[in-house]
Symmetry: C2
Subunit: 285 residues, 2 copies
């Protein structure tokens, strides 16, 4: 077993595993949580939904507060919560900001020094961790049925990884995603720091740019709260993604705006059932 099991917790009839492993991609130990629903058999392995968390989070925040688990348990869906960045690389300044460095990887492979050393969270999530979890739990999980979702920075991660790796994920959903990072303060700071100043290079990591080249339906659900201060401040820009998809003739993008809802886990948990059901639909459940 490549993973060390820190805890095995009964919940909603299934098992929540708190795991760690040493990642060659990031060069650090990495923590993750994995929920296995009540029953899997060799003939009926569970599909998997990955949830990418937002700024400041560890794998625990959404595991404890997102309320995806009861709905996943009911449908027979496994859940994976990765961490939001490498931890402990000791890069100078890594821990100084809530929106850059530690817990703020933006799920891209950094190309600019010094973050290029281990901030490779695109490769870590989309390849290393996904493949490792599917291999280590091959008797329980169906490698051909994986979807991805996320919140805020993790919504950006979910949307971009979905479009960067066509066919790997069957559907995508996001709560309050950073939808056009090249055009908002959070994204500008992160992309300049991780990728450098060439804004052409940023486009490969921006959902609003990527959707212009998407073929087929997007299989995407997005929820946004109109009381979300980050939405009001122009950090999320979901309308830009909607417009780009529409202009490019891309179908299968549903964006819902919810009156008064904020950016918190009270918002995420409220719509967790819808996102689990959205994934379940594309995962054959």
């Amino acid at each position: 077993m490549a993973f060390t099991t820190k805890a095995s917790i009964s919940t909603f009839g299934g098992t929540l595993l708190k795991l760690t492993h040493d990642s060659p991609t990031t060069g650090t130990p990495m923590a993750l949580n994995l929920f296995l629903p009540p029953t899997q058999t060799a003939a009926a392995r569970s599909p998997l939904l990955i949830f990418l968390s937002g700024l400041t989070c560890t794998p625990d925040n959404c595991t404890e507060k997102g309320f995806l688990t009861p709905h996943a348990a009911k449908l027979g869906l496994a859940l994976l919560w990765p961490d939001t960045s490498p931890r402990g690389l000791d890069i100078p300044g890594e821990n100084d900001s809530y929106d850059f460095g530690s817990a703020a990887s933006f799920y891209i492979d950094a190309t600019a020094e010094p973050y290029s050393a281990g901030y490779k969270m695109e490769t870590y999530v989309a390849k290393e961790l996904r493949e490792l979890v599917l291999a280590e739990f091959a008797d329980k999980l169906d490698a051909d049925r994986v979807s991805i979702s996320g919140h805020s920075m993790g919504g950006h991660g979910a949307l971009t990884l979905y479009m960067k790796y066509p066919g790997v994920f069957k559907s995508v959903s996001a709560w309050a995603p950073i939808s056009n990072p090249s055009k908002c303060p959070w994204g500008e700071k992160a992309f300049a720091g991780y990728l450098g100043d060439d804004k052409e290079a940023w486009k490969k990591h921006d959902a609003t740019e990527l959707v212009k080249g998407w073929k087929g339906p997007l299989n995407c659900l997005i929820d946004v709260g109109t009381g979300d201060n980050f939405y009001k401040q122009g950090q999320l820009l979901p309308e830009n993604l909607e417009k780009a998809a529409k202009d490019a003739g891309v179908e299968g993008l549903e964006v819902r705006y919810h009156d008064g809802y904020d950016h918190s886990y009270f918002f995420i948990s409220t719509f967790a059932e819808d996102h689990v059901k959205h994934a379940a639909k594309f995962l054959g459940l």
Copy 2:
């Protein structure tokens, strides 16, 4: 309005209010959370379920991680999460232990100095706060339909306040309650500190003693995880409560043991729906 509103948050179609007020009972500011389900009318005010939290908790832990809210929202039930002790009395040693003093009131009125100064959480919860919430939200809440529940130390609080104030609460439920505090290390430490060494005086605050004098059905649901380390260590002793109820001929006590479940919010949230439905049944929903 006796309360100061620190936050008003949309969740599950209703509103979560984070409130504070100055309590004459404790002599301190007190924090609480209140969930109001989607709709109330003068003709159809909501019943209220109080949840008392366990050691180390603030009102936020269960609000964020207990997942009572979606089930309450669906049924039209309001929820109230009080704090677990006064805060800021600056009694020497108050903050030194996780299981005594701050966040560990045991929901009794202390009679021993120095805690008798403000550790009056029985009166605070059962009278002051309950009456204040019902009065301030009289247009939304039905004062005649209130139930109580809790976890661990809060399960002890729920069971004892329910039996100390017959008729005030229509039903009671508890997750992993400290069921016989006179006979376990947590309870012995707390009762000695808050009440002094006269063990006869402890009996008035011990569910296993109180149930011997209970008239009528208990309307009580209790869940316990068999993987709960505190259960295994003899801190909870639900069997003592079961035996005392049986010996006294008290009916309406259902205690369920769940294989492998622990003491955490992953256990609480798993059975939250059952506890909300238990209360709802006695509250006419």
